[in-house]
Every structure is written in structure tokens, then in C-alpha cells.
């Protein structure tokens, strides 16, 4: 009974998100190279975002999770295209510097 009532998944998720924040703090605490620091930040940020979205924002439990996934996918597509497309058009592939 207790086991069913206790939100084990969410507590674990909460601890895990704290852990992820601690790992991200490493970048400030220790003198890391830029590449190492930014890699750690990007990886922990992505895992953190996924954790929040799927565990705490109830995407999975929603009756229409298919629509939500589609929406998230579309948002990712537009977001990534805008960011990397802008970098591509205005920085990497730009003639005039």
C-alpha cells in the first residue's frame, strides 16, 4: 500500500535533477577548458529539459500525448532550424567578415 502511494519515480527524478544541477556546477568550481565546460553544460541541460518535460510536466500521462509529442517535435524542428540555420547563413557560410 505504502509502495503504491509513495511517488518513487518522482522522488528519484527530483534527486536526479538535483544531481544534474550539481554536475553543471562543476564547470564553475573547477578550472575546465571551454570545450569541456560547454559540453558538460549542453549534455546536462538536454537531460534536465527532457526530465522536466516527461516526468514533471506530465507529457506521458496526458490523454493526447501523441499530439504533444508532435508539437514538441515541430517546436524542436523550428527552433533548431532557426538557430543552426542562422549560424549557417550568417556565420559559417558568410563571405563578408
Amino acid at each position: 500500500m505504502m509502495k503504491q502511494l509513495f511517488p518513487a519515480q518522482h522522488v528519484m527524478g527530483f534527486l536526479f535533477s538535483l544531481l544534474l544541477s550539481l554536475i553543471a556546477l562543476v564547470v564553475v568550481w573547477f578550472d575546465l577548458s571551454f570545450t569541456a565546460g560547454i559540453t558538460i553544460l549542453i549534455v546536462t541541460a538536454l537531460v534536465q529539459a527532457g526530465l522536466q518535460l516527461f516526468l514533471f510536466m506530465h507529457v506521458k500521462e496526458n490523454a493526447e500525448s501523441k499530439t504533444l509529442y508532435l508539437n514538441i517535435l515541430y517546436a524542436l524542428f523550428v527552433g533548431l532550424v532557426t538557430i543552426f540555420g542562422t549560424l549557417f547563413a550568417m556565420h559559417w557560410g558568410y563571405m563578408v567578415r
Binding site: V81, T82, G85, F88, M90, Y94
Partner: protein, 649 residues
Amino acid sequence: MKWDEFFVTGEPMIYAAMVSIVVVSLAIPIALTYFKKWNWLWTNWLTTVDHKKIGVMYILAALLMLFRGGVDALLMRAQTAVPDNGLLDGQHYNEIFTTHGVIMILFMAMPFIIGLMNVVIPLQIGARDVAFPRLNAVSFWLFFAGAMLFNISFVIGGSPDAGWSAYFPLASIEFSPTVGNNYYAIALQIAGIGTLLTGINFLVTILKMRAPGMTLMKMPMFTWSVLITNVIIVFAFPVLTVALALMTLDRQFGTQFFAMQSGGMDMLWANLFWVWGHPEVYIVVLPAFGIYSEIIATFARKNLYGYKSMVVSMVAISLLSFVVWAHHFYTMGHGVMVNSVFSITTMAIAVPTGVKIFNWLFTLRKGKISFTTPMLYSLAFIPIFTIGGVTGVMLAMASADYQYHNTMFLVAHFHYVLIPGTVFAVIAGFHFWFPKVFGFRLNEKLGKLAFWFIIVSFNVTFFPLFILGLNGMTRRMYTYSASTGYGALNMLSMVGAVGLAIGFIILVYNIYWSVRYSPRDTNGDPWDGRSLEWSTHSPVPEYNFAVIPQVNRLDAYWFAKKEGKPLADTVYEPIHMPNNSGLPVIMGALFFFWGFFMVFSWWIPAILSFAVIIALMAYRSFEKDHGHYISVEEIERTENAYRGEQHEN
């Protein structure tokens, strides 16, 4: 700021505009008081949350803006009609082409499309209103506040003059020191928030409020096109919001996002503008495709050919629309790789668009076509839009674009896309759905007369621009010398523009004539329509459908008519409807004042009006408003009245 700079001075045309603005703004309240219509205006229109009335207000505002933008266009054509013309000076010409572009796209095409959406979508999916009726009213009043703010720039402070795309560094405070571009940033911001809210509202409405049995693949094509359009709105408009905020910060708060000093980049504005701007083109064109699909299927008396491929191609267009933006500035410093990639994605858009063109043609094939006014616009759209599309593919080739870029060829191209692709569509939709809203059709004879004026004059106006562009006339030049040889074709274009103006005047006269003399419809289905909006009475009662219809297939109403089975039984239940509210229009007014103070950097009043806006929003959060019920007796009374009218006729 000096007070003598506050009002624009020194131009006879602007003094005339001031006089007319004062006369109109005095005439309206005087007329309202004289005819004792204040209460009627407030309860029936200003505070309404009814999607049909909001739609009508959108369309009225759009028609008003069509004439404002049209006068700008006529002035431009008049100025360039003969070489070395002195009708307008360079500054005035800059202001006019800027406001023409902004008004026609954002304050004419957008509200006209959104107005038709408002009127038609809930009816077409068998709903009683949109998902968030109050929010819908907020959307309208924000759009209206933005539009009015943009329009007063003409007489107070000076209009923006850096083009509708407002490229940096020209639009920066350094090169455009007047308040004109502040108006641009703030007015578009306010209207843009309204549009974003509309996007969310209609997305939820279409996904959540369809009549029982109407699965996604049984939706009418206009509903599909609007669904996809609103997805694009929700994902594209935040980019505009951010870009405009950065513009305001740069111009009024000393930041340097779009300046070359301190690590900023002027071209980043063009980039962000078109990341929004290209999807925006599809936001105004896709609903038009939906309108044409409805009209062509109705007047060819056939179901739409290739329904699935229509849907798939619209989804493809919506994705592709986000990956083509850099083709708007091929010549501004990209490497070969960037231009090649964006060339290919741009040309790829022609494929799904071509699929749609062929679907319309196959729908027409062996159809029993009746040549009504809306159908004529739809038929004219196909070849004219194809010319626009083909010249678009020419422009899409990056290397060739170095020749066409910023010439009149480009101007001709986008008018050939946007006028048949949007303007003809909204006029066709206006004629098509007019009887649904008002209960009588527009006169066909006058409608067709206006059609022929518009269609012929359109080509006379814009086809010469292709040739002028290839001959080297650049866009936005306010005059030229006789030795360039541009004179004759520009004069021809001017003649066409006058013809267009006559066409639009006939269109408006048609509304007046039809209100007075057109015979009233009796059954709510004057065109023998296919989708649910024709199954209810005209003009549509407040609650849209006395009983929500049951849908089992595409064009369910059409088949119900053929089989003689009604879509719904007649057991009435009390209907829950939202209450009217004065808050949206007050919010709109506050946003207008906030915007005005922001434009002139009057911070204290700006902060105060913003605080009131926040307070109103907080008030709304705590407001208890459960709407009201329409009783069964009242429904019966209304329904019987509609039937009674029919028997009398």
C-alpha cells in the same frame, strides 16, 4: 522633442489628411450621439465575444486598410508615371512605400484572413464559438490598436521610411532618427501579440471543438489550411516578437544588437526578419488555398480531387516555409554553399504547390461548373498565380537573382503571388460567405463587373513591372530621367492602377447596393454548399447550431442533402454561451496609449499605462464569469422565427 516636430508639417497632402482625420473623428461620435447608437455600438459590437461579429469587425478594418494602402499605391504609381515627376519628394515617397507594404501585409491581408477564419471556422467544424472567446476579442482589439497606432504616424511624428522590411543599419537610430521606425517596432509588436493569441486560439479550437464524428481527415479543406496556418503562426510570430523587441532596444535603449560595433551585426535583423517573414508569406497564402478549395469544389459540383495529397502538400509547405528564408538576401554576403542550400529548398516548395494546382484542375475536370463571382476569382487565380510561382522559381536561382534582386521584377513577382494568392482569395471568400453572415448575396452583375475590372487592371498594372525590372529599373526609386526609357511602361502601370481602384470602388458600391436591394435568402444555403456552415440558418443565430450536427464523412452536409437525412435531430437542450466583456476593448485602448507613449519615449505615462494593463490582467484572473445559458424556449422561439420567415417568402 520639440512641439513643432510633433505634427508632420509642410506637405499640403498631409494637411488634407489631418483635416479629414479630424472631420471623421468628430463625425463618428456626433453621428452616434445624434442617432442614439452608443449603447447599440457598445453592447453589440465593442464588447462582443461572438466569433461572427469579431470576424465582421476584422473584415471591416481590413477593407478600411485596403483603401489606405491602396491610396499609398496610387500615389506611388502617380509619382513614377512620368519621368522627373515632382508630385512627391524622396522622403514622402519612402514613407509611402514603407506604409503601403506594412499595411497591406499586416493590417490588410492578415486581418482579412483572420476575419474569414473567425466567421467560418467554428461554423465549419460545427462548434458554437472558438475555444477562448474572450481571448479572441483581445486579439482583435490588439490588432486594431496596432493598426491605428501605425496609421497615426502619418500625421503625428512622421511615418517609418526604411521599407516594410526595415533593414538595419538604415532603420537604426543613427540613420533614421525620427520616431517613424519606433512606430514600426511598437505597432507591429502590439498587432503581432494579437495574431499570436489568434494562432493559439484557433489551434485549440480546431483540435478540440470539432463536431462529433469529424476526424481530422473529415475536416473541410479550409479548416485544414487554417489549422496548418495557425501552427505556422504559433512558431513563426515569436521570432518577430523577439526581433522587434531587439529593434526597440537598439533604437531607444542604446543596445547594439544590430550595429557593427560591440559584436553586433546589422545583417542579423534581415536574417531574423525573414525567419519570420517567409513563413508569414505562407500564413497569408495557405488559408487562401483553403478558400479556393472550398469554392472550386462547391461550384464544380464535385468533391475535392486528391484530398489527402492536398493535406500532405500543405504540411510539406509548412515545414519547407521555415527553411527558405535566406533567399530574401542572396546578394548580401553569403557564401556559395549557403546560397545553394537555400536555392534548392526554395525550388522544392514549388513541388507541393504544383500538386495543389493540379488537384484544383482535376477537381474542375468534368465538373458542372457554374461561373459565380467567387468561382471567377478562383479560376483567374490559377493561371495568374502560376505566373507568380514560375517567376518565383526564377528568383530562387541564386546566381540569376544577382540580376533580378531589388528590381521591379521582384516587385512584379510578389504582387503576382500575393494578389491572386491572397487578395483574390479573400474577395472570393468575402462573396462566398457574405450570405452566411448577412442573409443575402452580393449582386452578381456588379460582382462580375468588379471582377473584370480588377483582373484586367491587375495585369495591366503589374505585368509591365516585370519588363521594367529586366530593363534595370530598381525598386523604391522615387524618380528617373526620361533617357532611361522607363516612362511608357510606368504610365501603362499607372493606368492599370486606376482601373484597380475603379474595380475596388465597384466592389464597395456592390455592398451598399446589395444591402438595400438584394433579395433575402430563405434557406441558409444559397450556393448549394458542401460543408457544415451551410446547414444552419443565415444570418447565423447567436448559438450557431440549435443542435450540434453529427458528422460521418467528408462533405457530410452535401450527402445529407442528397440522401434527405438531417444531420441532427431536433431535441433542444439549453445552450451554454460566453458573456460579453468590456475588458478587451479597454485593453486595446490601453495598449494603444502605451504604444504611443513608448514611441515618443515618454517613460512615465508608458509605465503607468502598462501597470494598468497588468492590473486588468490580474483582475481577469480572479474574475468569476461562468457565461450564460440560452433556454430551450428561447431556442424554439428563434428557430420558429427562422422557419416562419421562410414560409412567408
